[in-house]
């Protein structure tokens, strides 16, 4: 599996886009200008980007509460995401979701789940649909380490392996569930070992290495597409922020965060690689960052200037508005 230059640069751009958009949202949130809950993916950008780069256009991705990166990497515009966080009618969900339940139906991304583990059974059903339709689509379910303790994870993976469904379960192991370290919520050494309980293939990889993520997901997805069945892919990274904007993560052992920042910031690491490989030079890197910074600023402006949804639309689409039904 070779990754060409264009891809490499695209992945770098996207990782940078995620980081800058979330830096921005964090700042806006701290300024008290955003409502609700804001979960950023600092330190996990390589997973989102590696995963999406490995998929084909028709594939389906179920995201979670920490989803900005997933959507950006899939191509959703920063404008729609930021506008959604502001609750504007120009947002991805027309202001009905905020940060936690983003959607982009045009890009194969149904509503993300704010319920931990909430998408795992649903995604499994999407794969079942593909099995029945034989439509060659692979479904991805993305969730965290903490979500692997929810019973529905177990029910879904058992079903997926039993029926040999075309699905890849991506576990973003950022080593924490809110304030709880992984050792405090599960004893199993590698989360991917849980695949054994379903006679499913499981793999643990470095989730801060975007190329590694891309290659591993590509393999698992092609396997699933070929009818080889599901995979549980554990991507190990580190949550470089608190659980959500406003959480200062005082519960962390001193120095832990700094250590990971220094060694495992996926963007720093990748940038270094690209420079060493000569894929990019400093000027190009700066240019990219500048462009993206500008893009984000414009997106914020767009969001701020957009309208809030009209009060009278509040009752729409509680039910599908289909003549036969109403």
């Amino acid at each position: 599996m070779t990754v060409n230059k264009e891809q490499k640069i695209r992945m770098y751009r996207t990782m940078t886009r995620i980081r800058k958009l979330e830096d921005k949202l964090e700042q806006i949130y701290r300024d008290g200008k955003l409502n609700g809950h804001l979960h950023t993916s600092h330190g996990e950008e390589a997973i989102a980007v590696g995963v999406m780069e490995a998929l084909s256009e028709k594939d389906i991705i179920f995201s979670n509460h920490r989803g900005h990166g997933h959507f950006l990497a899939r191509g959703t515009s920063p404008k729609n995401i930021i506008a959604e966080c502001y609750g504007k009618v120009t947002g991805s969900n027309k202001g009905r979701s905020g940060s936690m339940y983003l959607v982009d139906t045009k890009r194969g991304m149904p509503v993300a789940s704010g319920i931990v583990g909430g998408n795992i059974c649903v995604a499994t059903g999407s794969a079942l649909a593909s099995l029945i339709k034989q439509d060659n689509i692979v479904t991805l379910s993305i969730f965290g380490d903490g979500a692997t303790n929810i019973g529905f994870f177990h029910e879904a993976l058992n079903m997926a392996s039993l029926w040999n469904l075309p699905i890849v379960y991506i576990c973003e192991n950022n080593q924490y569930g809110e304030a709880t370290r992984r050792e405090q919520h599960q004893k199993v050494k590698n989360i991917s070992d849980r695949a054994i309980a379903y006679a499913m293939s499981g793999l643990t990889i470095d989730g801060t290495d975007v190329i590694k993520v891309y290659e591993s997901v590509k393999q698992a997805v092609e396997e699933a597409r070929r009818g080889g069945g599901p995979t549980l892919l554990e991507c190990v990274a580190y949550r470089l922020r608190g659980h959500s904007a406003g959480d200062l993560a005082v519960y962390r052992p001193k120095g832990e965060e700094e250590k990971w920042m220094k060694i495992h910031d996926p963007i720093k690491k990748y940038k270094k690689q690209l420079l060493e490989q000569g894929v990019l030079n400093f000027q190009e890197v700066e240019k990219i960052e500048g462009e993206i910074q500008k893009e984000i600023e414009e997106a914020v402006k767009f969001a701020v200037e957009s309208e809030a949804p009209l009060a009278e639309t509040v009752g729409k689409y509680v039910y599908q508005e289909d003549e036969n039904n109403e």
Partner: protein
């Protein structure tokens, strides 16, 4: 017209819809071979891909149906006893019911959950005899269907399957073997239309599911004294308020009979819907009959104390006309 059992009417509806639309499929525990066998024979006709046995995983059964529905399939899930739905409750309340709204209508979840509730005369006991449809009335985004005879069962199940929203379809164990007229030719019954099962002018008796039969028998027994109009809402969401309210405006009296425990049951909801519109027309306080606020005991001598019976309904009615 030909007489058939409720269970057969359901099976015919499933068969017709599966022939009509290849996206319709059945999923549940032992649906190929067991349970109350509404699905009997369908696997031979449609194969194991469309009549799919599942592990004992109510969360994944319901949740995966949501996902399949999001992808254009029309799953009809069977949960063997309504009691077990509680295991997949989160997938209904937090996933199925929210998808359309959160996506501003871009996503739909056209799925049906079929499940039997109520007692078995006798002996299901506390974890196999509950009546739980009432609690779902408080979850916006769901539609609730509860047919009381073979004709309605067939016509409503077909509508439920064609509906683009998550629908919970409540059957009653004791209705399965009840017979009724069902036309050969295809028909559907729209959701949201109540049925006046018997016309009358002195009392509006709103009854659901298995209670409709009791109510009709009571109405017949009392016909020399009291003219009772028996209305079956048939769907709780959407609820055909007008038919009920107009009847009460005519009769001036309301009794609601449902097998749910009284406290927090739909009996109170119906009364409260009616009273706000028909208060000035009412000649007597609206009354309700339901199960006692207890779990369902096993022993016959206890179970029949808990659930609504013809005698209890009759007693309540006579008390409304005692003055």
């Amino acid at each position: 017209m030909s007489k058939c059992m409720y269970i057969e009417a359901l099976r015919t509806a499933l068969r017709e819809e599966m022939h009509r639309d290849k996206n319709v499929f059945i999923m549940g525990e032992d649906v190929t071979s067991y349970g109350f066998s509404v699905n009997r024979g369908l696997v031979d006709e449609f194969g194991p891909d469309r009549v799919r046995n599942t592990p004992i995983s109510e969360g994944a059964i319901i949740g995966s149906a949501v996902g399949a529905a999001l992808r254009g399939m029309r799953p009809v899930v069977e949960i063997m006893f309504v009691d077990f739905i509680m295991i997949g409750m989160d997938q209904i309340v937090n996933q199925a019911a929210k998808m359309s709204y959160l996506s501003n209508g871009e996503l739909s979840v056209p799925m049906v959950i079929r499940t039997p509730e109520g007692t078995e005369w006798f002996g299901g006991g506390a974890q196999h005899s509950q009546t739980l449809h009432s609690i779902f009335m408080n979850i916006p985004g769901l539609k609730l269907v509860i047919p009381s005879d073979p004709y309605d069962a067939k016509g409503l199940l077909k509508s439920a399957i064609r509906d683009d929203n998550p629908v919970i379809f409540f059957e009653h164990k004791q209705l399965y073997t009840q017979k009724g007229e069902v036309p050969e030719k295809e028909y559907i019954i729209p959701l949201g239309k109540a049925a006046v099962k018997r016309e009358g002018k002195d009392l509006t008796l709103v009854a659901t599911s298995w209670m409709v039969k009791h109510s009709l028998e009571v109405a017949e027994d009392l016909k020399s004294k009291i003219s009772i109009e028996v209305i079956d809402p048939r769907t709780l969401v959407p609820l055909d308020k007008d038919t009920i309210i107009n009847s009460v405006k005519k009769t001036g009296r309301l009794l609601v009979v449902d097998e749910s425990p009284i406290s927090g049951g739909i009996q109170g909801e119906v009364i409260s819907v009616v009273i706000q519109e028909a208060f000035w027309n009412m000649e007597f306080p609206p009354k309700r009959v339901g199960s006692l606020n207890t779990p369902i005991p096993f022993s016959e001598s206890l179970e029949k104390e808990v659930i609504p019976t013809k005698e209890k309904i009759k007693k309540e009615i006579l008390a409304m006309f005692s003055d």
